[in-house]
């Protein structure tokens, strides 16, 4: 494959550094414990902050009084919402395709007048040590007027439901409703006549599923260290997926000009979408402004789970599908009710599209609702909404293939989207490798091997997954050091081995070994604006920015080399760190010689930005074998194989790592991870003992099968990688359970109790 994504031919240069399964360049500091995460940083005079959180899910804050806390020896500052400028609803900052509403960000960081979930912050203290800060929290007096709790979607949608937000009127309904509602928006994606087509279908299948709110489960709790200097300049060391987004958010919340604020992203102990928005960064800065000492704020795990961070949305989803006598899909009908938590979320459009994208179908009617309840405001989690909708859609497709008596793989082959077929929003599909994936599965042992006999029923499930991903913008620059080596500064935070793969890109572009390239993630003052590391965009767009920056730097070097060698730039050939004359054999100069000779003539800075790169849509298909203990409902995953089209694997080991980790996260949500709220909106399982991430004993080794269908018009043809491998997981497991037992489980996670209830025909 060449760098424009054309299949490799004899003339195209072979890749030397890219495409190789190289270890991460930052692995050694991880295995020795030297890698620095914000919690590891100490500053002289540093104090510790803690947040006071609401014990109620829905209440008016009548009064907050910090007098007693302020008087406690050792307390150096307290803050409440009164310490922040009030931001009107709809104060937007730019971020990606939709922007961010700062009114909501402010609510997530410090509630004003009203609380909408248990754990929402209402005050904070900074003290000389955590024990004093803890004691001070108990001395902050708060008076609440309790309001009725809306604990779940069922209550939220009831006609007489208590309304969370008086300013929310359902968007997307005509005429505009006259009363406020917990339903924030209605989104429709439709073509043809799905209802009619379902009526006329030879076979139909329908499922209704309920998915619990779940958590990204990053192992590093939210943490920030903030310091304000004598000039009022604030530095924030953060665990964030986006230093620029954090900077915009903190700046807006504090009305601080960005010339007075710098965000330094340190190592991040996992984010998966949950560390895009800020959760306390502005609070720490405000405390630091007040006490003029460095302030460290570290969340406990309980805070992370009990309202201190944004989990992933739960949902109620109904799907009906129909096919004709040839086993061709004729209709898909879907209703998606998404639980956004305590503040309005996003339109479910992307997840609705994702659910239907991989099937060619003439009649489509998808209706989605974004709904608020008294739970923490949800945030992104790896292909947000993808696994929830695929849990419903892939079960419906599997059930339909059963009704038709067609093998589930064959059914997918008959109906699979191909390059050029119509996407749910009406535009044609760019190049996709779904057909290749399905062929590949048919030939793979994971599909052909017979299921070995077990003590209990076993089954094999298949499910597809699609994620659109996004591109947004990335910036990077390359300076050339005095010894001729490229030094990369990029705006991308490294959440997935980005430094390694991006150093590989530049090594490839310069024809140098990987070890000759230096790379760093910039703080918010040292590179151009880049959107957060999210939406499977970073590797693709930063590759594009670095290909551009490399070309820019090499062009500047070429001009300089031509001057030194007294020839025309066009007469020079560049290869592996050396410019050579095409005309005079033996006339050449290495980058090291060139820079030594010309360093004082000025810096070489190659610049690159990428925006509006063509999408690198992600497609995967998973095959899963399970055994179901029909006495206890426990599901054991015996074997799991994930097929994915990645365009080009910049680093196959990193790609496998993304896929394997993603699948295991999916298995967690599929089987054991779900938030359990009581009727008062309090999370009953706010610990990692009862919120059960899979351990090494709960999952098999995941096999990742990489398929490469390059994206045209994208350097190296790279696709997004990190999001789609979570999408099919719950569907694949559910289909395997159904094949094993003849029973469909409609609740996710499919805990043993729920599986047993389904097997017994209860609940």
């Amino acid at each position: 494959m060449d760098k424009l994504g054309r299949p490799s031919s004899d003339e195209a240069p072979r890749l030397e550094v890219l495409g190789k399964p190289l270890p991460r360049i930052d692995a050694r500091e991880r295995v020795t414990g030297e890698a620095v995460y914000p919690a590891d940083l100490m500053r002289p005079g540093m104090v510790q902050a803690k947040i006071k959180r609401s014990p109620h899910a829905h209440a008016i804050i009548k009064r907050i009084d910090t007098t007693r806390a302020d008087a406690l020896p050792g307390v150096v500052a307290t803050v409440t919402a009164a310490d922040f400028p009030e931001l009107p609803i709809g104060t937007m900052i730019p971020m990606g395709e939709t922007g961010y509403d700062m009114w909501m960000v402010a609510q997530i960081n410090m509630a004003r007048r009203k609380v909408h979930w248990v754990g929402q912050p209402i005050a904070a203290v900074a003290a000389v040590d955590p024990h004093v800060a803890e004691a001070a929290l108990a001395l902050i007096d708060v008076e609440y007027e309790l309001l009725p709790t809306v604990p779940h979607l069922g209550v939220a949608m009831a006609p007489d439901a208590p309304v969370l937000h008086e300013h929310v009127f359902t968007k997307g309904v005509e005429p505009r409703p006259r009363a406020p509602s917990n339903v924030c928006s209605r989104t429709v994606i439709s073509r043809g006549d799905a209802t009619g087509a379902l009526k006329n279908a030879t076979a139909t299948a329908s499922v209704s599923v309920a998915v619990d709110t779940a958590h990204q489960g990053y192992l590093e709790p939210q943490v920030v260290l903030a310091e304000v200097d004598a000039n009022g300049f604030a530095t924030v060391w953060a665990s964030t997926q986006g230093q620029f987004t954090t900077e915009l958010m903190v700046g807006r919340m504090l009305d601080l000009p960005l010339s007075k604020l710098k965000v330094v992203p340190l190592e991040i102990g996992g984010g998966f979408g949950g560390k895009i928005a800020i959760h306390g960064e502005a609070v720490a800065v405000r405390l630091a402004q007040k006490c003029r000492r460095p302030v460290k704020l570290v969340f406990t795990r309980e805070e992370v789970l009990q309202g201190g961070s944004g989990p992933a949305a739960g949902a109620l989803i109904d799907i009906a599908v129909g096919a004709d006598t040839d086993g061709k899909l004729t209709a898909i009908e879907g209703t998606y009710r998404v639980d956004a938590g305590g503040l309005p979320g996003m339109s479910p459009s992307l997840m609705m599209q994702a659910s239907a994208a991989l099937y060619q179908c003439p009649h489509l009617n998808l209706v989605g609702y974004d709904i608020v309840t008294n739970k923490p405001r949800t945030e992104a989690y790896r292909g947000p909404g993808g696994i929830q909708v695929a849990f419903a859609m892939e079960q419906a497709m599997d059930a339909l293939s059963q009704k038709l008596g067609v093998d589930p793989l064959e059914f997918r082959k008959r109906n699979a989207s191909v390059t050029g077929s119509t996407m749910p929003i009406g535009t044609p599909f760019p190049a996709i490798g779904l057909t290749t994936i399905l062929e590949c599965i048919g030939e793979h042992a994971c599909w052909r091997d017979p299921l070995p006999e077990g003590r209990f029923p076993r089954g094999r499930g298949l499910a597809l997954g699609y994620w659109r991903g996004t591109s947004m913008t990335s910036a990077a620059h390359i300076t050339i050091s005095g010894d001729g080596r490229p030094m990369i500064t990029m705006g991308a935070v490294d959440i997935s081995g980005t430094r390694t793969t991006m150093a590989q890109v530049v090594a490839e572009e310069f024809g140098l070994p990987l070890g000759d390239v230096h790379i760093q993630t910039a703080d918010s003052k040292s590179a151009g604006y880049s959107d957060p590391a999210a939406g499977s965009r970073v590797a693709r767009t930063t590759t594009a920015a670095l290909v551009e920056a490399s070309a820019d730097a090499l062009q500047q070097l070429r001009v300089r080399a031509a001057l030194r060698l007294q020839c025309s730039p066009a007469d020079l050939v560049y290869s592996s760190g050396r410019f050579s004359s095409r005309l005079a054999a033996g006339t050449s100069i290495t980058l090291a010689e060139l820079m030594q000779a010309t360093l004082t003539e000025g810096a070489i800075v190659g610049r690159g930005t990428s925006s509006n790169l063509p999408l690198g849509v992600e497609i995967g298909a998973h095959v899963c074998d399970v055994e179901v203990d029909t006495d206890t409902g426990q599901v054991t995953v015996l074997r799991y194989t994930a097929f994915q089209d990645v365009g080009l694997a910049l680093n196959p080991m990193a790609v496998e790592g993304q896929i394997e980790g993603s699948v295991v996260q999916g298995l967690g949500w599929a089987l054991t991870e779900g938030f359990d709220y009581d009727a008062d909106g309090r999370l009953r399982n706010a610990s990692l003992l009862d919120y059960r991430l899979p351990t090494a004993l709960d999952v098999p080794t995941i096999d990742a099968v990489i398929i490469e269908t390059p994206v045209p018009g994208v350097p190296y043809g790279v696709r997004g990688v990190g999001e789609v491998p979570i999408v099919p997981v719950a569907g694949a497991v559910a289909n395997a359970i159904a094949r094993a037992t003849g029973t469909r489980v409609w609740q996710m996670p499919m805990t043993p109790e729920r599986v047993l209830n389904a097997l017994r025909g209860r609940g």
Partner: protein, 155 residues
């Protein structure tokens, strides 16, 4: 209350002023600066705080600093021999067994405790040995592979 605590960390005897309520984890991180040991939960549920205490892997968040007085502690900072990584560390690097890295110090310690007592573990034994160490990034496959490779290399 404040008090002096003496213990041996990575072979060096240390005497430091601490709060009576400090956990061994807080003591190592905040008072001694051994920040390689992480806090993912503070409740014994995640294993990111795993250290060796008198040779046994323990959750430093469930131990009081005072309980460690007169004990020998080994943290992640004490595993490599200067620039020479321990075979478990080498293997985690080579096999892609570390991603965000937050679980990694704990995994290294648990794996060391395993290989010190069982030089030839099966896959099931390896998985059992790290079952108290959650990892959210890798899906465990490459970690298990790395520990098996380290065991093979040490034999």
């Amino acid at each position: 209350m404040r008090m002096m605590i003496t213990c041996t960390v990575n072979g060096e005897e240390r005497t430091v002023l601490a709060d009576t309520r400090d956990t061994l984890l807080g003591f190592l991180r905040e008072r001694l600066g051994f920040t390689g040991t992480k806090e993912g939960c503070g409740n014994g549920n995640c294993g990111t705080c795993t250290v060796l205490m008198d040779g046994a892997a323990v959750n430093a968040c469930l131990v009081l600093a005072q309980e460690a007085s007169e004990s020998e502690i080994v943290t992640i900072e004490g595993i490599a021999d200067g620039d020479k990584l321990h075979p478990i560390q080498e293997a985690l690097v080579a096999h892609g067994g570390t991603q965000c890295g937050f679980c990694t110090p704990g995994i290294v310690i648990s794996a060391k405790a395993l290989l010190d007592s069982n030089p030839d573990p099966s896959e099931a034994e390896i998985r059992h040995a790290v079952a108290g160490n959650l990892c959210r990034c890798t899906g465990y496959g490459k970690i298990v592979e790395a520990i098996a490779a380290a065991a093979a290399q040490r034999r």
